[in-house]
Structures are given as C-alpha cells and as structure tokens.
Symmetry: C2
Subunit: 195 residues, 2 copies
Amino acid sequence: MPRPAAGSARRADARQNVDKILAAAVTCLSRNADASVSEIAQAAGVGRVTLYGHFPSREALVEAALIRVLSEGEKVLEGLDLTGDPRAALTVLITSSWLLIAQASAVLEAAQAALPPGRVQELHAKPAQRVDDLIRRGQAVGAFRTDLPADWLVSVLHHVLHGAALDVAAGRLDRADAPHFISATILAAYLGSRT
Amino acid sequence: MPRPAAGSARRADARQNVDKILAAAVTCLSRNADASVSEIAQAAGVGRVTLYGHFPSREALVEAALIRVLSEGEKVLEGLDLTGDPRAALTVLITSSWLLIAQASAVLEAAQAALPPGRVQELHAKPAQRVDDLIRRGQAVGAFRTDLPADWLVSVLHHVLHGAALDVAAGRLDRADAPHFISATILAAYLGSRT
DNA sequence: AGTAAGTCGAACAGGGGTGTTCAAGTTGTT
DNA sequence: AACAACTTGAACACCCCTGTTCGACTTACT
C-alpha cells in the first residue's frame, strides 16, 4: 500500500506517477466525459492498481483532475492584465486561454456526472468569477450591451468556447483559426445592435 | 414474437407502443445521452421485453429515435417561409423552433455515441441543409458578415441553441426568455463589425 | 547493501447494462 | 368465440466497470 502520507515524504516515483495520472485524467476526461479508470491508467502508463493506490475511487480521481485543471487555469489567468478596455481584455483572454478554458469546461462537465451536485459549482466558483467580473465591468462601462443579462453573456461565451473545442477535435475547425473566430464572434455578439 | 411485418398489418396496440417508445426515447435521450433501455422502456410505460420486440438493439432504437426527431423537425421547418430578408427569416426560425432544434441536437449527440460514425452525419445532412442555406444566402446578400466562414456561423448557432437548452433545463434560464436572448445574440454575432 | 516504499498482473466479488428465452397472461381482430 | 398477435416478469448469460486483495517483483532512499 502506497501513501503513508504521514511522517516521511512520498518517494519520487510515486509523486511522478500521481502527476502522470492527473495529466492523463485531464486529457481523457476532456475527450470523453465518462472515461473509465482503466482507460486513464493506461493513458498514464500505469497499472490500474497503482492508480487506486493513489486515489481511493473514481470520484476522488475526477475531483482531483478538476482541481488540477482549474488551478492550471488560475495560474494562466493570474498572469493576464484584464483591467484595461473590456473589449481588448476579452480578446486577450480568449486568444491566450481559450483552449485551456475549453478543456477545463470539458472536465467540469465530466465532474458534474461523477461528483455530488454542488461540489462542482463550489470548485468552479472562484475561477469563473474572473470572467464574470470582466463581462459585468464591460457592461457597467458601456463596452458591452446591457439589453441581455450578464449571466447569459457568460453562458454564450462558455458554449461557444466549448463548441470551438469540439469542432477542433472533430477536425471541422483549424486550431489556428479558432482564437480569431471566437473573438470576432463573441465581440460582435456582446456589442449588440449599436448605431 | 411481435413484428410479423409480412402480409397482415400490425395490431393497433403494437403500433401505439412503438410510438410511445419512440417518444420516450427522444425525451430520455435528449435529457441523458446514455439513457439505458430499461429507462426508456419505463418512461414509455412498457416492459423492457416489449421494447426489444420492436427494436432489435439499443442501437436500432437510438437510430429510430434520431430519425423521428429529425423528421419532426423537417415538418416544422417545411411550414416556415425562409425566403425573405435573411435576418427576419433567422429570427423566425429561432423563435419558432429553437427548442425542437435543441432537442434534435441533443438526440444527435446521443446518437453519435451509439451509432457507427458517418451514419449520424448522413441522417442529419438534409435537415441541416436548410439552416445552412439560409446562412449562406444571408452572406451572399450581404445581410450577414463574410469575414467568418459559413460553417463556423452554423456551428455557433448550434452551440448557442444547445447551450440555451441546457440552461433552461438547469433552471438558469427562463424558457420564455430564451428565443429573444438567442435571436439577439446570434443576429449581433452574424452582423459583425458594421459601421 | 538493505529495507521500506512502490508497482504490477491476476483474480475476486458486486453491480449494472445488454440481449435472449420461456411460459403465462392479456387483448385486438374476424 | 376463437385464434393469433401482443405484452409481461422472471431468469439467464455475457460483458464491462468499480474496488479490493494477494503475492511477487522492482526501485528509491540511507
């Protein structure tokens, strides 16, 4: 049994394996929301038993993967300056992290089916706040339309991102085109019917 | 064994059951892409064995459900006049059939996981053509932006519709608001950066 | 070099889904 | 009324997934 957890530190290879497993979980779960544990273990290049040695259940694994992809997202978002012109900030946000957001969104979807309701919302709340704030600020400043509620605008962004990720995965959309297409679409949608 | 199929017509109650099963399959599959056969049978108020009497496999059932929801969609779209101003036509299309399209889209997603690849595309091709044509005509006439490919615009529409349906199902969006929100968003997105 | 930590495959039990069979009962049709 | 069509639950075999145990093996650490 691995995971003494108390007293001495874990062995180096164990830590590496945990990392490999989490990375595999994120990619597998974002491709297929109900990927099996065997599938993830295999993708990580690790035996199924080893995986269960580090995560007591599939649920715990999915939660850990969600936490990981969200914290990765946090790190990227932290490095971004979103305080300037909302439109420019939104463009920066999209072009620099659309793929990450889409991936996180996919894992989030997987988590919704595997975790107790509310838990997902709880973990997702803080990262989502940043996007939320940007959109609300844009509305307050007059950069974005106010005839539609902010919640809806946020929802549209998420679904367009998710859709773009699907299109890329299916080969219907060139990965290089995605950021521009998304920005152009979202900005126009957020502008609304101006003069 | 039901389904003599040859010679004499099926009994009335059998036909009704097939209908009930298909209706249940559409609603179940649009709520949950991997709904079980038992689940669908129960929703239809029918024994599981009866269902297997009418559909040889889950795959056949899903395919039949997809065909049904698509043909329902066809019927609605047929009654619409989409020949006028593309913007007005798109608004009509959305307000009159966004829910149906979203439901069809959900079943389509379920079918993608249960049917051989290509088969879904094949069935979906004709109904999708109508929306496709409308958007392309809008671009040709100058009503919609041309700096983004028509395929992408179609994709955006589908994903926004799908997202709206999810939001409604999750209680995040009032069903009555949906058509207006969607139209306002899509029209703005399709207009692009005009003067 | 020795020891604890870690990995691995095989194999188990339990649960749920898919299809199938069967025997008994119900119901539409003529 | 009588027959065939239809429905039904129980029970079965099969497969895949989840978790767990076991014993043997390899590897990191001192």
